[in-house]
């Protein structure tokens, strides 16, 4: 059944129009009745009309920003899980890996540098001390890497609740972590595939930061 309203300008009783405009005098109907979708004019003489088009575009934009944040969340969780997994495994196997690397070096020295005498000259105590020190260094680096992975996961989980801090911290940590790993192991990290992947992730996170700032502004404006 049609809903009746009375125009305040020409007093025409008419069925309520979607546009909120009186069909006779074309002026906005102030007596909007139960539906409150018609906003008050912002400037005298200029009627803004029902905001359905604009607000739907606004919510479209907001949902697009939300999906950018979802991408950021997925990236941070992915990077976090990979970083944590790789470093946790390396942390657990640090001793075996270092001893294997030392064994390889010794074998090389044994074949190149004059047979078994070189190995005999290598003092056992000094060997253990060196291995212990390198194992501690490796554990420190891989433990730090695993912690960084956990922080990435935390940032990923926090994207929805704290969009700006989580995305900014994620981006800064990612750039910083990449720079540190580049410093530690330039050969692996300077490969074209690794570089391209890092650039893509940095670009996506950067876009997410921009989207997060705007998303937060709009969300705060709605409250």
């Amino acid at each position: 059944m049609a809903e009746w309203v009375i125009c305040s300008s020409c007093q025409l009783k008419h069925s309520r129009r979607v546009s909120g405009i009186c069909p006779r005098c074309q002026s906005p109907v102030d007596d909007a009745g139960p539906l409150d979708t018609i906003p008050a004019p912002a400037v005298p003489g200029v009627y803004e009309g029902p905001q359905t088009g604009a607000s739907s575009l606004g919510s479209l934009a907001q949902s697009a920003r939300g999906s950018q944040l979802k991408v950021a969340r997925a990236i941070l969780l992915f990077v976090g899980l990979i970083t944590f997994g790789v470093n946790a495994v390396a942390f657990a196997n640090a001793e075996a890996n270092v001893e294997a690397a030392f064994g390889e070096e010794l074998a090389k020295a044994n074949t190149i540098g004059g047979g078994p005498f070189r190995v005999l000259q290598f003092r056992r105590g000094r060997y253990l001390e060196q291995v212990g020190r390198i194992v501690r260094s490796v554990r420190l680096a891989t433990g730090g890497g695993a912690l960084l992975g956990l922080v990435f996961i935390g940032c990923g989980l926090g994207v929805r609740r704290y969009p700006v801090p989580a995305t900014v911290a994620g981006l800064v940590l990612y750039i910083g972590g990449s720079a540190i790993f580049l410093y530690i192991d330039p050969e692996t990290n300077l490969r074209p595939v690794a570089l391209v992947m890092k650039l893509i992730i940095v670009f996506a996170l950067f876009k997410a930061v921009r989207a997060a700032v705007h998303y937060q502004k709009v969300s705060l404006g709605d409250e």
Binding site: S19, G20, I21, Q26, P28, A42, V43, V46, Y47, E48, G49, Q51, T52, G53, A54, L57, G58, L60, A61, A64, R65, R133, R136, S137, L140, Y162, V164, P165, V168, A169, L171, V172, L173, I175, G176, A179, I180, L182, Y183, I184, P186, V202, F206, V209, R210, A211, V213, H214, Y215, Q216, K217
Partner: protein, 267 residues
Amino acid sequence: MTLDGGDPGRELTRCWRCGRDVLRTLEACPHCAAPRRRGVRRPSIDSSRKDAGRLPGVLVVFGILLAISVLHVILVSSGAKPDAAPAALVRRQLAGLLAFELLTTAVIVAGIRILGRPSRWPPVNTGSTLAAWGLSVVGLLLMVRLNTGYHELLQQQLGPAPIDAATAAALRGSALAYLVLCFQPAVVEEIFFRWLTLDSLREAMGVPAAVLTSSLMFGIAHIGMPLSIPILMVLGVLLGLARVATGSLVLPIALHFFHNLVLLVQG
């Protein structure tokens, strides 16, 4: 023409049928109900580009600074001559550091020129400022102790320090060292991290998160000393709190300067 100080959502256009002013965002003219013509600008999904403020620009400047730091570290490690005399080695490294710092200063100045000055810090009452100055002395002493303790622990675990006694003595004897290790970082880093970055972050995320994030960035910026990053983050928090408590850069600059000075003199 706009109604609301440049807000694109409130821009006016003229209706093609009745010629009256209509908001661009409306689907139809409210006066004559004429449908909007195609080609009229709608609010863009990516309108965040303008509205995101200074923060993305600050992150770009930070990325550039980090890239310069990595380049500096690579150049230093590739050009190192361990057999050189400590004094010559120190002179050479300080000259490289000076060039690096001039470059970072230029990047930061350019960043400030491009991005503009952050909004003014809200006024801070005198009591809070005085308390911050008083507590900062204790904070500085604690920070220096924490820093030396942390590095002693690292030294115990990982072996001898990268700087030997002769190099440390040569550093202490060089006037350039005080400029490039104490004065320049205290002024330029504080301007970037505690002014431009902290203020831009504060506009976007509030004070506590801004202090933490800016100190994270401060720590990571010291990529040349990766093992010192955690303790530098703690220092960054202290300096950020000093900035928040006093509302000015004078105390963070003073704290940063004296922190570096004490560590340099201690060797």
